[in-house]
């Protein structure tokens, strides 16, 4: 009974004769084979043309373009990196040169300053020596003047003291006495 309903169901569902092996496998229903094969061939042809004419070339182009872009970018990055390294080297070189030059300038300036300084010092020494000699001369003069003044004052004073005591001093005598005293 079960088998019979199966056959009926299958037949009703399949819409064709019960020779469709009923409870058996629809896979072995040969009457549907031409239909399936026909549509399969149509499907495969459509898929093949869609893939081989449109999809696969497009994807291949996209992948190639992407690979190109990536390699180009990497090359550009390498180039930039190389340039940066070059720039750094140039900078380092310029820095070293500048430092070297600065050192040379400093040394030169030092030498120049030293020579100028020496010259100035020598000139200053000369001037100082001249001034000192001049001063010494002046001092000697002043001292001489001072001695003369003292002598004069002493003579005058001695004459006046002698006169005050009521003596009449001989000028020559007083002068000789003062001179003797001042030597003593």
């Amino acid at each position: 009974m079960s088998g019979q309903t199966t056959v009926e169901n299958a037949a009703a569902a399949a819409g064709h004769g019960a020779e469709a092996s009923g409870a058996g496998m629809p896979q072995l229903d040969f009457s549907t084979f031409p239909n399936q094969i026909f549509w399969l061939v149509v499907t495969l042809v459509v898929i093949y043309f869609v893939l081989s004419r449109i999809a696969l070339p497009r994807i291949a182009a996209v992948l190639a373009e992407r690979a190109d872009t990536i390699s180009n970018d990497i090359a550009a990055a390498d180039e930039l990196k190389r340039r940066a390294v070059e720039a750094e080297a140039a900078y380092e070189k310029a820095l070293a040169d500048a430092r070297h030059e600065a050192n040379a300038i400093v040394a030169e300036a030092k030498v120049q300053i030293q020579s100028e300084l020496n010259a100035e010092l020598a000139r200053a020494d000369q001037v100082i020596a001249a001034k000192a000699a001049e001063s010494e001369a002046a001092i000697a003069e002043i001292r001489k003047d001072a001695v003369k003044s003292v002598t004069t004052i002493s003579r005058t004073a001695a004459k006046q003291i002698v006169a005050a005591f009521g003596g009449d001093a001989e000028a020559a005598e007083v002068n000789a006495a003062v001179a003797a005293q001042m030597k003593g």
């Binding site: 026909f38 893939l51 696969l56």
Partner: protein
């Protein structure tokens, strides 16, 4: 108890193979070779899905791909590498051919897993045509490329001379069994999986065992998702292996 279950089962719709019946889409009547059937419908949906993924998905030709373009590129790269690795560098010109078979089987397998759908690859008529196409391609390419040297595939020159005729017979048989195993492996796997799910679905109507049945359907559905992918991959990679034999018949 068991009798009751049987009765219940027989009272239910319990025909695990009904899902494979080829029906006309419009009305009733005999199925002629041109009749639009559910086969046509589901193959058409497969074609649309393939177009959607590979043509519409990649329409932007973006350097930075969108999601669908990325999936398309992934499948493209995967298949391309498979063809190149297995069939060799000169096998790459068969890439669109392998891709066509792979994509058709992959999409049909997965579309067949949608409930109430129709699994076109569960039919031996379909898988046999696919396998026959591969077999014919391999044989024709083998003879065109290598001439009679292609027969060296059956003459194992590394074996002792006495064994060679015996090996030749074995190789010859295995060569002609290839399309059979190639087609039945795919069709059988898909059919068996769907039938098992339907059997468990029939048991789900029996209250006592329905939780078990639903759990089993879930588990088998998961397994079938795996099988759908693996069988498509196996079919494609075997195609590549056979193509390698055709291009380089030496062992």
């Amino acid at each position: 108890m068991s009798e009751q279950a049987t009765q219940e089962a027989s009272g239910l719709v319990f025909h695990p193979l009904d899902q494979f019946i080829v029906k006309p889409l419009f009305g009733e009547g005999p199925i002629m070779w041109y009749t639009p059937t559910n086969v046509t419908l589901w193959m058409g949906i497969a074609v649309l899905c393939i177009i959607g993924l590979f043509v519409i998905g990649s329409r932007g030709r973006a350097i930075v791909p969108t999601r669908s373009q990325s999936i398309g590129e992934l499948i493209y790269g995967f298949t391309y590498k498979m063809v190149e690795d297995v069939a060799g560098h000169d096998g790459v010109k068969f890439f669109p051919y392998v891709m066509t078979l792979f994509m058709f089987i992959l999409f049909s397998n997965y579309l067949g897993l949608i409930p109430m759908s129709f699994a076109t690859t569960s039919h031996i008529a379909v898988t046999a045509v696919l396998a026959a196409a591969v077999f014919l391609t391999v044989t024709i390419v083998g003879f065109v490329k290598n001439g009679t040297k292609f027969l060296g595939l059956f003459w194992v020159s590394s074996a002792p001379l006495a064994l060679r005729p015996i090996l030749a017979i074995i190789e010859l048989i295995s060569y002609f069994v290839r399309p059979v195993s190639h087609s039945i492996r795919l069709g059988g796997n898909i059919m068996a999986g769907h039938a098992v799910m339907k059997v468990f679905a029939g048991f789900a109507a029996v209250a006592l065992i329905s939780p078990l049945s639903v759990a089993a359907i879930t588990a088998i559905y998961g397994l079938e998702i795996l099988v759908a992918g693996i069988q498509a991959y196996v079919f494609a990679i075997l195609t590549c292996v056979y193509l390698k034999d055709a291009l380089h018949p030496g062992h």
